[in-house]
């Protein structure tokens, strides 16, 4: 059982004018787990995530990430996390190698480190032939695997994935999740938002958000039992009905 807290959120609230996007949420994420952050579009999951990675300031409440206070130690937090966004997050008009060099560079890796890591990365993804091609020319699935690998270049303790598999076919999604598992096995904590319910099944624990609040938080197995259904889809539907 994983018990060391790596993310701790207390009473986090975000308001845009009169609209409350995130309502007083609290939860913990343990080191090394795959934590699924679920919810319909507009449920507030992306807003909540943005507060955790330091690019959006909470209206009230606090959070620590990797033992650091996000509000006061933002810069240190940024060094210990990786991030891959919902929209494709590499530069299309740079080659694979140039992308790796650039992102390695802005995370302050030395030239030697970058050289070693990019060689390993390109090999593990089997992109040796493509390494000098523009990212534009790669299929979407490959781009996303590459983006994920690049977000891990600086060996972050936690990696935040914002709907990483949007628009990808099921087989590639499956492959992508194999990458996630491999990374989690190394001890990296994975914080992933998704709206694919089958992906929720792959997570160690999931939280389900609706209208800015966390409606449920537990392992997929326990949630299915609690809501008396055999799929996460069922859990989600029952929750959605309750909210209405």
């Amino acid at each position: 059982m994983k018990t060391e807290k790596i993310i701790s959120v207390q009473n986090l609230t975000k308001m845009f004018g009169d609209f409350t996007a995130v309502k007083n949420i609290s939860f913990d994420v343990y080191k090394g787990e795959i934590f699924g952050f679920l919810g319909a579009n507009g449920a507030g999951k992306t807003t909540a995530m943005k507060m955790l990675i330091g690019i959006s300031k909470p209206t009230s409440g606090s959070s620590t990430v990797a033992g650091l206070d996000v509000a006061t130690q933002t810069e240190k937090v940024k060094k210990s996390i990786g991030y891959m966004s919902q929209r494709f997050s590499l530069y299309d008009d740079l080659t694979i190698r140039e992308n790796i060099n650039f992102f390695g560079g802005i995370y302050g890796l030395s030239r030697d480190q970058i050289r070693q890591k990019s060689a390993r990365l390109i090999e593990s993804l089997g992109l040796q032939k493509e390494s000098k091609k523009l990212v534009k020319s790669l299929p979407l699935g490959w781009k996303q695997k590459l983006a994920f690998s690049i977000s891990l270049l600086h060996e972050p303790k936690i990696v935040f994935l914002d709907e990483p598999t949007g628009g990808v076919d099921p087989i590639t999604r499956r492959q992508f999740w194999e990458l996630i598992y491999a990374e989690a096995d190394k001890g990296t904590t994975i914080f992933v938002t998704t709206h694919y319910m089958d992906e929720a099944e792959y997570c160690d624990r999931v939280s389900i958000m609706a209208e800015g609040e966390i409606e449920a938080l537990d392992s997929p197995k326990k949630l299915k039992k609690q809501y008396n259904t055999n799929s996460m889809d069922g859990v989600f539907l029952k929750l959605a009905r309750n909210v209405e």
Binding site: K78, S85, F88, Y91, D93, F103, I106, G108
Partner: protein, 368 residues
């Protein structure tokens, strides 16, 4: 520092791999300078005019010869009678018709007064005006020859001296203007587009999550454009000098300083635009409508501000380009130093600070 170099390198990749950027950066200045220098000019050359000579005597022949000999006019056709005047003008090729009254030489001899009528095609008022001025000066010149021996009791003689641009070259006005427009275009529009592009593609988020500080991101993004703008300014000055003999009378150092100041003003405007627009298209529209049009129309580049209605004159004061053109003309044509240009320089400096403060504020609001 190493991060910064990496960032700038990436920025150059973006620019050099985008054909449109490359054209705006390097094609535009050359095309514009040549276009404004050669094609759009207030001077007239080889204008077709026609003659209706009702007298056909010695005197009119001399005048016609004189006109034909000048580089400004070609005498194309002879109009046979008054009623043909309209048809000739309507064809559009002939821009003016000179009508000599009958018995011209005789009247000049006896009455000491003979009349010439100049009929111009005023669909283009500027050209029409210039033509009539040129013809008049040729006629005056001829009159002076006739009066060489006569004595006129009272005479005011006007001597005009055209300071700083004795040949009235239009291109001396256009080079500073084009330079201003290009620097504005490159610095403000290109940077605002390049920053909003990162927003649109979602890569801005990745950069903000990285250990880079927001101001490092912005400086990394605008730095290549400072560099490219300086190259552009140099290209324009060299072209102006080689092709149009545009002089630089004043200090090169001051010119360099003022140019960099204006580049920074334009960059800060570009940053401001990028903080208020979410897409590249909005950034481009704001840059074109909000910057290029005022820069071209309200900066003295093409239209004199002093002849605009008062409200427009006031508005022109908030256009940075207007002040930069004053500075450029001062340094390049008049050869004056900072003691004459400190006011304009301070205004540009003030505007730059204002734009930067405003962008920082806007930026913070967006992060809240």
């Amino acid at each position: 520092m190493k991060r910064f170099i990496g960032f700038v390198r990436k920025e150059f990749f973006h620019i050099f791999r985008d054909k449109r950027s490359m054209f705006i950066l390097f094609g535009m200045p050359i095309v514009q300078i040549l276009l404004f220098g050669f094609a759009i000019t207030n001077e007239i050359n080889n204008v077709e005019i026609a003659i209706l000579d009702n007298s056909k005597d010695n005197e009119t022949r001399k005048i016609i010869q004189k006109i034909n000999a000048s580089p400004y006019f070609n005498i194309e056709t002879e109009v046979l009678s008054e009623k043909h005047i309209e048809t000739v003008l309507k064809k559009g090729k002939v821009k003016a018709i000179l009508v000599f009254e009958s018995n011209f030489a005789e009247k000049l001899e006896i009455k000491k007064l003979a009349n010439v009528q100049i009929i111009t095609d005023a669909t283009d008022p500027n050209t029409a005006n210039t033509i009539s001025n040129y013809v008049q000066s040729i006629l005056q010149n001829h009159q002076q020859l006739l009066n060489k021996n006569a004595r006129i009791p009272y005479q005011i003689s006007v001597q005009t001296q055209l300071q700083y641009n004795p040949e009235l070259k239009g291109v001396f006005n256009f080079v500073p203007g084009v330079m201003t427009v290009i620097l504005m275009l490159v610095s403000a529009m290109m940077t605002s587009i390049s920053i909003t592009r990162e927003k649109e593609l979602g890569t801005m988020e990745i950069l903000l999550v990285s250990p880079l500080k927001p101001f490092q991101v912005i400086i990394g993004k605008v730095f290549p454009y400072i560099f490219l703008s300086i190259i552009n300014a140099l290209v324009i000055l060299v072209l102006g000098f080689l092709v149009f003999e545009m002089p630089i009378e004043g200090s090169y150092l001051l010119l360099a300083f003022e140019t960099i100041l204006f580049i920074v003003t334009a960059l800060s405007l570009g940053i401001l635009i990028s903080t208020i627009s979410q897409t590249q298209q909005t950034a481009m529209m704001i840059s074109l409508m909000g910057l290029m049009l005022p820069v071209i129309l309200l900066s003295e580049f093409i239209f004199p501000i002093s002849s605009m209605p008062l409200p427009l004159q006031y508005i022109s004061n908030i256009i940075p380009a207007k002040w930069f053109i004053v500075i450029l003309k001062g340094i390049m044509l008049k050869g004056v130093g900072l003691q004459f240009l400190w006011k304009e320089t301070l205004i540009l400096l003030g505007m730059t600070v204002f734009f930067i403060v405003l962008s920082v504020k806007k930026y913070k609001i967006r992060l809240e």
